[in-house]
């Protein structure tokens, strides 16, 4: 026997030699494929499935584009809406100012306008006409401020399009800034000597109407004097900012209800309490179950419709899913097991029986879960402040489906299977878990025209025991969780 042969024998005697033979012989071995297998695969992958898969592969780009466009629409649409709201808010300010002036000095104003209109300097008018043409902003401002001059006309103006203010601006757009200023000056001076209705904080402003004189206007200072804040800064004493009052999210207690769809999901932690129905018989058993089972992080999700009235009261309902997870750990350090196997020849005939006695540890881990589908009925109250909404919710969940899966120690301290589909099933649980009480605080942030992000920590208390009357323990739960999701305004 040479050294090489001896080495081979030693190598073959190592534990891996068995593995190596199997790896070499079976690793590349091709079995004979049954004739119908390809047809079966082809049939199983139906045309519909192929089409769906193609869309899944190629359609992700389509989906991405749709998502980007959708997000863009939601976000930019919101910006456009906000832009429109700003314009409208300006108009709103003018209206309030206008109304105030009209209310307190209608007669004087009319006289002043009629009396002074023709007295406006034709030179100034001509000078500023050029400026009007070259400066659209000035034209716009002039048109806006000139509402006061034409307040008489406005009384008979029927609003069209979006707001009456747009219409007003169009009507009076022909007037020049000089006319406007002079008329504002005269009107305000005559109608309110101390200008007490105007809140300008007693500071000189770029547009201090009381001090502005027509003859002081020049091409240069006209721009500066007319720039920006204009009448939008003029607010009525003791009244809220009319811009804000026009914000649709601060519409007071008027307006139609809003309908939202809320999609929420997040982790839950469920706390279990096992109580013996008969303390003498079940106390120790409850302790054993508690020591062998532990809670794990669960999950809940909700899809619901929310109807929110203008006064903030909300009614919500939909469908909710909750899953309580637990783990059973059994450990036996001195297990003795006997395992018996049939030994077969290459033709599959049983040629003997092998019996092994196994001594060692036994660890049994079972992941238990309780799944619930519920119908929530929730009453809420929402408070809005611009893009933020805070809600307080309370209600009840009505269980419609209850499934369970797993094992626990029976009163005989043997592991039993209580799964809904187990045969035989250890019947310890009810068919449904009845009603549970729900409470939550929600915070929403508006990120798009109709889109909100939501965070809703919640609490849930299950009113009834999960176990049935025959089982010696009552198994009750309460759960806390944090749901995150989105809210989309349907209308």
């Amino acid at each position: 026997m040479n050294v090489l042969h001896l080495f081979k024998i030693i190598q073959m005697k190592t534990p891996n030699s068995t593995d190596k033979i199997f790896r070499e012989k079976l690793g590349e071995y091709a079995s004979e494929v049954p004739a119908g297998m390809w047809d079966a695969i082809d049939n199983q992958r139906s045309g519909k499935q192929r089409t769906m898969l193609w869309w899944q592969r190629k359609g992700k780009w389509v989906a991405l584009i749709i998502l980007v466009l959708g997000a863009g629409y939601l976000v930019l649409g919101d910006e456009e809406a906000a832009h429109g709201a700003r314009h409208t808010a300006h108009g709103d300010t003018v209206q309030v100012e206008n109304a105030a002036i009209m209310d307190e000095s209608a007669e004087v104003e009319n006289d002043a306008i009629e009396g002074n209109e023709n007295k406006s300097s034709s030179q100034s008018k001509n000078n500023n006409q050029n400026q009007d043409k070259n400066n659209p902003f000035l034209t716009e401002k002039a048109a806006t401020t000139n509402i006061i001059k034409n307040s008489k006309d406005l009384k008979n103006t029927t609003p069209i399009k979006q707001t009456p203010f747009v219409k007003s601006a169009n009507i009076i757009n022909e007037n020049t800034p000089t006319d406007i200023i002079s008329n504002i000056d005269k009107t305000l001076a005559e109608t309110s000597e101390d200008n007490s209705i105007l809140n300008i904080n007693n500071k000189p402003t770029p547009f201090d109407l009381t001090n502005l004189q027509t003859n002081e206007l020049s091409e240069n200072n006209l721009l500066s004097t007319l720039e920006i804040p204009a009448l939008s800064e003029l607010t009525l004493k003791g009244k809220s900012d009319p811009c804000y009052a026009f914000n649709p999210y601060d519409s007071g207690k008027k307006g139609p209800p809003r309908l939202y769809i809320d999609v929420l999901a997040g982790p839950d932690y469920a706390h279990r309490t096992l109580t013996a129905k008969d303390a003498d018989l079940g106390g120790g058993y409850a302790t054993i179950r508690d020591s062998t089972e532990t809670s794990r992080l669960g999950f809940s999700s909700t899809v619901r419709l929310s109807i929110v009235l203008a006064n903030g009261i909300a009614l919500r309902s939909g469908i909710a899913y909750a899953q309580i997870n637990e783990k059973l750990d059994l450990f036996d350090g001195t297990t003795t097991g006997i395992e018996t196997y049939e030994i077969k020849d290459v033709n599959g005939n049983v040629i003997g029986v092998q019996t092994d006695t196994v001594i060692g540890t036994r660890i049994k881990t079972t992941y238990n879960r309780f799944q619930m589908v519920d119908i929530p009925v929730i009453l809420g109250y929402e408070v809005r402040d611009r893009n933020w909404t805070v809600s307080l919710n309370g209600g009840a969940f009505f269980n419609v489906l209850f499934k369970k899966k797993g094992e626990f120690l029976s009163p005989n301290l043997a592991p039993v299977n209580f799964s809904s589909n187990a045969t035989p099933q250890y019947e310890a649980y009810e068919k449904t878990v009845g009603m549970s009480l729900f409470g939550s605080v929600g915070v929403n942030y508006k990120v798009g025209n109709r889109l909100h992000l939501m965070a809703e920590p919640h609490f849930r208390y299950y009113m009834d025991s999960f176990t049935n009357a025959n089982y010696p323990l009552q198994q009750n739960y309460w759960a806390v969780g944090m749901n995150l999701g989105i809210r989309v305004q349907l209308f």
Binding site: P15, S17, F22, S31, V33, I343, I363, E407
Partner: protein, 177 residues
């Protein structure tokens, strides 16, 4: 068709390319499935399910590795899923006191592949899976433990026992002969 063209064709749901892939690899993959299955009909089901999964997930194949290796991994995963499907519960039995037998492993080299497959198929399910993963696929005990949800020591002990059972079966065969 090259391998790259086959993969591209399969991604585009080209039936000819899919059939070619099946023709090329079905035999070897059926062997893989037979090693994990309890009997031939189960192996055929696994192989069928595996190829369906291959065609459904082929867009996830990265051309950096072997295509055959990727298909093989898919088959093994399908087999493992089948093994775990029936039970959400995992019962582990340690074998700390078990001693490996001293049978000569060279006897396996004289057996035909079909005979070896039958020996593997005769192993208890857990042992069979561990033996296949470790001895033939080349997984480590840590990887097997993770895949099967068992402890590494359990994987080791099941491998030892699988080897011993295989040797025992061969001894019986020799005795019968």
């Amino acid at each position: 068709m090259t391998e790259q063209e086959l993969v591209k064709g399969c991604i585009n749901e080209n039936r000819t390319a899919q059939q070619e892939v099946f023709r090329l690899y079905a035999g070897k993959m059926l062997t893989v499935c037979r090693r994990y299955a309890r009997h031939n009909s189960e192996a055929q089901d696994l192989c069928q399910e595996g190829f369906i999964r291959v065609f459904n997930k082929i867009h996830t194949f990265k051309a950096t590795g072997s295509f055959e290796g990727w298909i093989r991994r898919v088959m093994v995963n399908v087999a493992l899923k089948n093994y775990q499907r029936s039970s959400f519960q995992k019962e582990q039995i340690g074998l700390e006191g078990y001693q490996e037998g001293a049978a000569d492993p060279t006897v396996f080299s004289h057996l035909h592949e079909e005979e070896l497959l039958k020996l593997v198929a005769a192993l208890p399910e857990g042992y069979r899976v561990v033996f296949n993963l470790y001895a033939i696929e080349g997984y480590s005990h840590a990887e097997i433990a993770k895949l099967m949800g068992i402890g590494e020591s359990t994987s080791r002990s099941q491998l030892v026992k699988a080897r011993k059972m295989l040797q025992g079966m061969v001894r019986e065969l020799q005795n019968v002969a």
